[in-house]
C-alpha cells in the first residue's frame, strides 16, 4: 500500500461532550491527499467541533485520530501547526489590538539575524510586514491602508481575509476553513474560492465548512454531510444535486449508502 492510499486524516468514533450537550457523537472523519472536502450541516450540527478536535483546539473524550496513518494526540493547536496543519476558525482568532503583521505571525515571529535577534530577541518587523503585505496582495483580498493598523480597525470581511491569508501562507499539509466566506462580499468570496483551488494545486488538502451550496458544489471533490453530531454520509457532488444534499443534512431524506464517494 503506497502512502497515497492512506488517508491524510482518518478519525474514528470521536466523541466530545460539553456537560449534557454531545457536540460530537461517535463521528468518523476522513480527508484524502490533495482533495477539497466540503463539510455541510445544520447550525449546531457539530461541524466546528469536529474540525477543532482534529486540529487540537478541542480534546475529544473518545475516539482516535490518525494523520497519514499515525495516531496523534494534539494537546493544543500549536502541535498541529508544527505538523503543517492550519485552521481558519469561525471566530477568526485574531487579536484585535495587534497589527495585521503581528497577527499573521503570532506564535511564529521572525527575529532579526545576528546579535539583535539572538541575544536581544528583537523581532524582524520589516521582514514580517513585507511578508504580510505580499500574502494579502496575493490574495488580492483587500486594500488595507497600512499593514501596521490594528485588526480591530478592519471591516469584518477584511479580518476574515487576514485569517485566511495567515492559514494559506503557513500550511504545508492541510487547511481547515470554518466558514471562510461568511462575512465576505461576492467578489471577495470568489477570491477565496480561487485561493482554495490554488492551494489544492500546490498539493495541500482543504476542509471547507460552508453553508453556501453553490460554492460547495463548485469546488468540492467530496462532501461530508454532518448531522446531529456525526457524519451522516459522504457524497460525490457530481452524483447528487444541491437539493439532495440539503435534504440529507436536514433529515428530509435518508441517503441509501453511507459512503457514496
Amino acid at each position: 500500500m503506497s502512502t497515497k492510499d492512506v488517508p491524510l486524516v482518518q478519525a474514528r468514533g470521536l466523541v466530545k461532550r460539553f456537560g449534557h450537550v454531545v457536540a460530537i457523537d461517535h463521528s468518523d472523519f476522513e480527508l484524502r491527499h490533495g482533495e477539497i472536502l466540503a463539510v455541510i450541516g445544520d447550525n449546531g450540527a457539530g461541524k466546528s467541533s469536529i474540525v477543532k478536535a482534529i486540529c487540537g483546539a478541542l480534546q475529544p473524550d473518545e475516539g482516535e485520530i490518525l494523520i497519514e496513518g499515525k495516531p496523534v494526540h494534539f494537546s493544543s493547536p500549536i502541535e498541529a501547526r508544527e505538523m503543517g496543519i492550519e485552521i481558519v476558525y469561525q471566530t477568526l482568532a485574531l487579536s484585535p489590538a495587534l497589527s495585521i503583521a503581528d497577527n499573521m505571525f503570532t506564535g511564529r515571529e521572525l527575529r532579526r539575524p545576528g546579535f539583535l535577534g539572538k541575544w536581544l530577541r528583537m523581532l524582524d518587523k520589516p521582514a514580517m510586514e513585507r511578508f504580510a503585505r505580499e500574502k494579502l496582495n496575493e490574495l488580492g483580498l483587500m486594500t488595507v491602508q497600512s499593514i501596521r493598523q490594528p485588526v480591530e480597525t478592519l471591516s469584518g470581511g477584511q479580518r476574515q481575509g487576514v485569517a485566511v491569508a495567515r492559514a494559506a501562507a503557513f500550511a504545508t499539509k492541510f487547511i481547515i476553513m470554518d466558514e471562510p466566506t461568511a462575512a465576505l462580499g461576492v467578489k471577495e468570496s470568489r477570491r477565496v474560492l480561487e485561493l482554495i483551488k490554488d492551494v489544492r494545486a500546490r498539493g495541500i488538502a482543504i476542509v471547507l465548512i460552508s453553508h453556501n451550496m453553490p460554492h460547495v458544489f463548485e469546488v468540492a471533490d467530496r462532501i461530508h454531510i454532518h448531522r446531529l453530531g456525526r457524519r451522516l454520509c459522504t457524497i460525490d457532488p457530481k452524483d447528487y444535486t444541491m437539493s439532495d444534499a440539503v435534504a440529507f443534512m436536514t433529515g428530509a431524506k435518508t441517503p441509501e449508502v453511507a459512503d457514496a464517494a
Binding site: S95, L123, V144, V186, N212, P214, M242
Partner: protein, 360 residues
Amino acid sequence: MNDVADRSPGATEAEAGLAGAASAVAEFQPRRRTLLDHIQHVLHNNPTLVPVIVLALSLVAFGIIAGERFFSPFNLSLIMQQVSIIGMLAAAQSLIILTAGIDLSVAAIMVLMSVVMGNLAVNMGVPTPIAIVAGFAGGAAAGLLNGVLITRVKLPPFITTLGTWNVFFALNLWLSGAQSIRSQDIDEKAPLLKFFGESIQLGGAKITFGVILMVLMFLALWYMLNHTAWGRHVYAVGDDPEAAELSGIRTERVLLSVYTLAGFLCALAGWAAIGRVGSISPQSFYEGNLQSITAVVIGGISLFGGRGSILGALFGALIVGVFQSGLRIAGVDVLWQVFAIGWLIIIAVAIDQWIRRVSA
C-alpha cells in the same frame, strides 16, 4: 449564521455581474468626521498622548501657580526621587494590567523582600550580595505563587492578590518582629543595601541611582513589550485570551512569566526602597499597591487589558508626583491633593472608556 434557504443557486449567477466591476477591492467613502471623532482616533492610536498632555499642562499650571520654587532643578529632581519607588511598582503593575489582571500585592512583595534582604544582611550577617539575590529569588517566587494560583487554580487575579497581599504582609511582620532596621545599622553592616540612595549631582539637580534604575526599568520593559515576541504575546493575552490560545500562544506560560517578572521587579524596587527611605520599616508603603494602580490608570493603560503603553505608567506616576509637589509648594492642604488625585483617576478611566469605543 447563514441559512441555506437564503443562499439560492442564483448566487453564482449573481457573480456574473462582477464582470464589469471596478478592480479596486475596497474603496472607502471618506466618512465625514467631526473634530471629536478625529481626536478619538488619534488618542486610540497613541494611548500615551493623554498622560503626556496632562503632564505638560500640569507642569505649566504649577509653574504659574507655584512659581520659581516649583521649577527649580532641585525640586524637579526631588519629584523624580519621590516618584521612583511607586514608579517601579507601577512598571510591574503595568505588565499585569496589560494581561487584564491586577496585582494588589506588589507593595507587600516589595516590603517583604526588603525585610528579607535586611534580615539576612544586617541581622544574620549573610554577605550582602547573597542577601540581595535571596530577595530577588523571593520576589520572583512570590510573583510565581500569584501566577500559579491564577492560571492553575483559576482564581480571579483580584481575589488571589487580595489574599496574598495579606499573607505577604503577615510574613513581613513575622520576619521583622514589627521592628524597623535602623539606618545606622545598615550603614555599618550592609551599606550595599543603600546603593540606590547614592546620587550624582547635575547642576542643582540630584539624580539618585534609584531614579536611574526606574527609568532604565521602563525603557527595558518598553523594549520587551514592543520588540520581542514575548511582549506581543502579553498584549494578545490581555486582549483576547481565547483568540491568543487558538492562534498559537501558550497563554498560561505567558501569564506565569508576567507574574514572576513582576514579583522580581518588586524585589528590585524593595532594594531601591532601602536606599530611598534609609531604614527598613515593615510598615512602610502600605498604600503602595493602590498608588501603583493609580499611576497605571492615569497613564492610560486599560484595566481591561491589551491596550496602552508602559511608558504611560511612568507619566502617570510623574503626574501624581507633580500634583503633590505643586499643591504642596502652593500651600494647599494635603486633603486637596488627595481630592485632586481621586478626580484624576476617574477622569483617566472615563477617557479610556471613551477611546475604547472607537473600535466599532
